[in-house]
């Protein structure tokens, strides 16, 4: 699903954000990427959904080399990727349903099909009764559930979540993580960037630890939690 071979990422004037990163995430896996602020977690995710190009090395997503994808190929790659951000990235002047509908509209689905799938996904995150509400009238946890619904509504093969629970209290954190786990159980590959160690301990998943842009460990969460 995701393959990195000696990947480097350098920002002009800021130095290296990723250094010689090599890893693989097979289809159907649930992976945590962890590390302190500035470790390169978000950069790694940005590279995978083609928001940034790698400065060196090879990055393959769905078997395709993103360096050779070209600007016209990026949108079609992204249609197989759902992304969740810490700050939700919801449009405040659009209703919950309108926000969730974006990925389906981009694919050119008919309005009736969009409505059907939006209702279904909002039901699965427990928000179908708030379709006509605006994001700012929802709690932080609800907003993140809307963001997860938007990321999952088009059934992506890969879900990337960048600190998805960073702004949530513990109860809302578990709600959102359960949604991600459900998606993984249905076959979606999930990569979650987080610095929340309690999540690593609670969910027994593979953990890739980064520090100063390098992979310092790659294994299961029990071992990782034990070393911390």
């Amino acid at each position: 699903m995701i393959q990195l071979f000696h990947v480097y990422k350098e920002y002009a004037g800021e130095g290296l954000a990723l250094v010689d990163v090599s890893l693989q995430v097979p289809k159907g896996e649930f992976v945590f990427v962890t590390g302190p602020s500035g470790a390169g977690k978000s950069t790694l995710l940005k590279l995978v959904f083609c928001a940034e190009p790698p400065s060196g090395g090879q990055l393959l997503v769905f078997g395709r080399n993103v360096a050779k994808l070209g600007p016209s190929g990026v949108p079609f790659l992204r249609r197989n990727i759902g992304v969740v951000f810490q700050d939700f990235k919801l449009l405040p002047d659009r209703t919950v349903a309108e926000n969730v509908a974006f990925p389906l509209e981009v694919r050119g689905l008919a309005a009736a099909e969009v409505r059907r799938r939006v209702t279904a996904i909002l039901r699965s995150v427990g928000l179908d009764h708030k379709q006509r509400r605006f994001p700012l009238s929802l709690s932080g946890g609800e907003q993140q559930r809307v963001a997860v619904a938007r990321a999952l509504v088009a059934d992506p093969a890969l879900l990337l979540a960048d600190e998805p629970t960073g702004n949530l209290d513990p109860d809302r954190t578990l709600e959102v993580m359960d949604l991600l786990e459900d998606a993984n159980a249905r076959g979606t590959t999930v990569v979650v960037a987080t610095h929340d160690r309690s999540l690593l301990q609670r969910y027994k998943k593979r953990v890739i630890a980064l520090e100063a842009g390098r992979v310092i460990s790659d294994g299961d969460s029990i071992r990782r939690a034990g070393t911390s």
Partner: protein, 291 residues
């Protein structure tokens, strides 16, 4: 495949969400098209007026004192077949002069008719100015012709003035169109900037550049069409108000009812829509759309 109606509904939705930006862009295009239309109307009207005046011209062939008026008339008839000719004796010429002077005709008391030359007048109604000029040149061959006159001096001065105005007008229109495109694109750029979060999210979920751009282009097209449409209505109103006044001041026969004919109005409408489209494209090109 995304349906065109989807893009149209998004463009209309965007106009509804940013009415101020839409209003400013529409007004910018309205002013540009209105000013262009006024200029085109004034220039076109003046040109048509000139053509009509030229069409009303008659060519006078003034004869030498000893010339044979009848022979000159026959020669003129051969040169200008089918046109109405009139042989004007010195007596008739003096009578006409008296009539045209009105109360000032007293000054002609005691003037002998022979002071004025006999002439042959060739009437050429509806003949365009170059044809009148060419006819006058041919009539110089009339036996005994001393001078051929069709009032060409002032007509040619007016024609030269219009030629210069036409060149100045084209430069002005080009400048106006470029300035409007830049002005409107800056305004529309605000709309793009205001919706940068929407664009970012669209692109995150897999929207192509075209998917993002089409609603903005439609928005510009709609603003251009509305602005130009209002300008055309304004120009028709101005035309309706001014033509009767011009008819009184000049001659109702000389002032046509369509100073701005339909093709010109359609060109203005199309030009306004094109301006809106270009302004939108410019605003998108300048905007850093990011990854």
């Amino acid at each position: 495949m995304v349906r065109p109606s989807y893009f149209l509904s998004r463009a209309l939705d965007a106009l509804r969400r940013s009415p101020t930006v839409a209003l400013v862009a529409t007004l910018t295009i309205f002013v540009a098209v209105f000013v262009t239309g006024l200029f085109a109307g004034a220039l076109g009207g003046a040109e048509r007026l000139l053509e009509r005046w030229a069409g009303d011209l008659h060519v006078s062939v003034y004869l030498a004192p000893d010339a044979d008026l009848s022979a000159a008339r026959d020669a003129a008839a051969r040169i200008a077949p089918g046109l109405r000719l009139e042989a004007v004796t010195p007596e008739v010429a003096l009578e006409r002069l008296r009539a045209s002077l009105g109360p000032g005709a007293a000054a002609l008391e005691g003037v002998a008719p022979r002071v004025l030359p006999a002439s042959v007048e060739v009437h050429a109604p509806g003949l365009p100015l170059p044809a009148v000029r060419e006819l006058a040149s041919r009539l110089e061959a009339v036996p005994g012709a001393e001078q051929v006159d069709y009032g060409g001096a002032w007509v040619e001065r007016l024609e030269a003035l219009l030629r210069r105005a036409r060149v100045a007008g084209l430069v002005l229109l080009g400048t106006l169109a470029a300035a409007t495109a830049v002005l409107a694109s800056n305004t529309l750029r605000l709309a793009v900037f205001a919706r940068r979060d929407e664009i970012e999210i669209m692109k995150l979920v897999g929207a192509t550049d075209a998917f993002v751009a089409v609603p903005f282009l439609l928005e510009g097209l709609i603003e251009g069409l509305v602005g130009a449409g209002l300008a055309v209505l304004g120009l028709l109103a101005v035309q309706a108000a001014l033509l009767p006044m011009l008819g009184e001041a000049l001659s109702a026969r000389l002032v046509r009812s369509d100073v701005l004919p339909t093709p010109v109005l359609l060109a203005l409408l199309g030009g306004g829509a094109g301006l809106g489209l270009v302004a939108s494209a410019l605003s998108l090109r300048r905007f850093d759309r990011g990854p």
